[in-house]
Symmetry: C2
Subunit: 325 residues, 2 copies
Amino acid sequence: MKDVAFRAGVALKTVSRVVNGEPGVTPETTKRVLGAIEDLGFRRNESARLLRTGRTATLGFISDNCGHPDHAAVCRGVEEIARDHGFLVFTGSTDNDPSREEVLALSLCSRRVDGLIMAPTSGDHEYLVPEMEAGVAAVFVLRPPELPGVDVVLADERGGAKEAVAHLIAQGHRRIGYLDGDLTGYRSRQLLSGYTEAMSAAGLPVDAAWTTLAPQRLLDSAVTAVFCGSREHTVRVLRALATAQHTPTARGRTRRVAVVGFGDFELADLVSPGVTMVSYDPAEIGHAAGSLLLERVAGEQGPPRRVELPTRLIPRGSAEFPPDD
Amino acid sequence: MKDVAFRAGVALKTVSRVVNGEPGVTPETTKRVLGAIEDLGFRRNESARLLRTGRTATLGFISDNCGHPDHAAVCRGVEEIARDHGFLVFTGSTDNDPSREEVLALSLCSRRVDGLIMAPTSGDHEYLVPEMEAGVAAVFVLRPPELPGVDVVLADERGGAKEAVAHLIAQGHRRIGYLDGDLTGYRSRQLLSGYTEAMSAAGLPVDAAWTTLAPQRLLDSAVTAVFCGSREHTVRVLRALATAQHTPTARGRTRRVAVVGFGDFELADLVSPGVTMVSYDPAEIGHAAGSLLLERVAGEQGPPRRVELPTRLIPRGSAEFPPDD
DNA sequence: TTGTACGCGTTATCAC
DNA sequence: GTGATAACGCGTACAA
C-alpha cells in the first residue's frame, strides 16, 4: 500500500480511501491510484485490515465429519448464507471427540472468527463461555448443546418419527418395531419418543422387544413393520430382509415386513421396492443456522432461539402395504 | 498481552516468550506469567501474530460444491493432513462458475492463505499467476488446470474405464456402450479413451451409437453391456432397465444388460443385483493433495508433480454374467 | 480534497 | 534472563 501510494504520488490514506470506495477523492486521483494498484498487482491484506477493524468476516463450521454427506450438506447451506454476506467459512471435523472439538473451536476463536456453527459432540461446552463473552457468536445445529442460552437449529425428529409410525399404523400395522444403533443419543431419544407417542395415540401397546439395537432380534419377533432411526440401520434391515426372504410365515408364505427409514439417501428409490423415508433438508438447517448466526454477529441481542425444521415423509413402496401375518 | 505483562510484572516480550515456549525464561517468571494468563483468560490473537509473521497456517479448499459427497470426502482428506500440521482450512463452493471461482480464490488469497487446493472449473486460471508469484502455493485436484507448472492430483479414470470394459469383455460381451451426460468434459474424455483403448485392445469395433448421452438410445441399440461415466447416469440406466424389464429379446425372453458404473455410491450393494463399480477413494485424493501442498508451503521447489491415484473395480453382480442375446 | 500521526496485538532486534 | 522499541499492513481521527 505504501508502494502504491509512492507510485501514485499520494499519501497512504488516499490509497486506503480508493480501495474502500470512500468518498472525497478526485476522479483523477482515483484513476492514478487505481493505475498504480494495477501496475503493482496490489491486493489489500485482509489480515491487517481485520486486525484493525476487529472483525474477520469469518465463520467456523464444526461437525463430526465434514465428509459425511449430511454434514457436508449443512456446511454447504452455511456457506451459501456466508457468501451472501461476504463471509468466509472455516471447516473442521471432530470425529465425535469432545477434546478434539474443544481444540478446534478454541483454535478458531483465537483466529477471531466472528461466529461458530457447531454440530456438538456429547461433551459439555463450558469452554465456550469465555469465548462467547469475548464476543464470539455461536449457533448449534442438529443436536442441542449442554450449554444454556445459545441458539439452536434442529430437525423435528420427534415429529418425523410420529409421522412415520402413524403412516405405518394407517396401513393397518399394529406391531411396529423401532431400530437404532444407540438408544441413548439425542436423535435416538427424540425418534423413540415420537414412536411411542404415535403408538399410544393409536392405543397400541409397545412390546419391549420391539425397540432394540439388534435387527435380527426384531425380525424374529412378530413385528410386521419397522421404523429405522438411522441410515445404517435402514440398510441393515433391508439386507437382513433380503437374505431372509425365504423365512416362511405361519401360513407358509414369504413374509413381508414394512420399512420406513429416517434420513434420506441417494438411490433410495432404486432399491425395489423403493425405501419409504422420513427426512429433512440438511441445506435448510445450514441456511437457518447461518442466518441466525449472522444476525447475532450483526448485533442481535434477543433471547436464545430454537428453530425446529420440519421433516417430510416420502412414500416409496417399502411401507405401503398392509401387515402380512 | 499488555494486561498480562502488567499483571505479571514483566515486559511484553517476556509474555511473548512464554506463550511461544521460547527458551531463556526463569521457571519462576514463567509460572507468574502463566498465572496471569490464566487469571485474565488470555488467548493469543492469531490474526496479529500472523500479520507479524506473514504466515497464516491456513489452507483454502475450493470445489464445485462442498456439499457433494465426493468433494466433501476430498475436503475431509485435506482437512486431516492440515490438522496434522496445525493448519486450518477454508472451504468454498463455485457451483462450477468460473467467475465465482475467481472471486473465491482471490478472496482467499487476500486473506493470505498459505495454499490453495482447487477442483477447478473449466475456466482458465491465469488470475492465479500473480498470486502464486506472491507466494501462494496451489494444487489442483480431480481435474487438471489449464495452468502449466502446477501440482495436480487426479484419479486414474482412463485406467479405471479400461479395467471396467475389460471386465465386461472377459464375461464375453462384445457390444458394449459408454454412457455419460457430457462427452466433452475432462473426466468423460478420460473414461471414453479408456473405453476405446480396452475395446481396440480386444479387437472389438465401436459403433457410433454406443457412445452416447441418451440412455434409451443406448438400450435400444444392440449392446449387451453398458459402462456409465457418472453416478447420475448409472442410476438412469438402472432405472430404465428396471422399467423396461419386459422388453423381450429376439428370442422372446426378458433381456438382461450388464452394467458397470463409475463412482461409488452408498447402497450400491443393496440394489439387486448389486451394482458393479469402478471407483476411487476421494479421501486419498485429499490426503495426497494436502501433503503436496504442505510440502510446497514448506518451501519445496521441485518441478510440478502429477499424482494419479488408482481406481479399483468392485464386482457386485450387475456385470458378472455373459451377454444375453 | 488530501495528508499526518497513531493504534490494532503480536513478533523481532537489539541492548541491558 | 529480561526489557524497550520498531515493525507487520491497514483504518481512524483530526489537522491542513
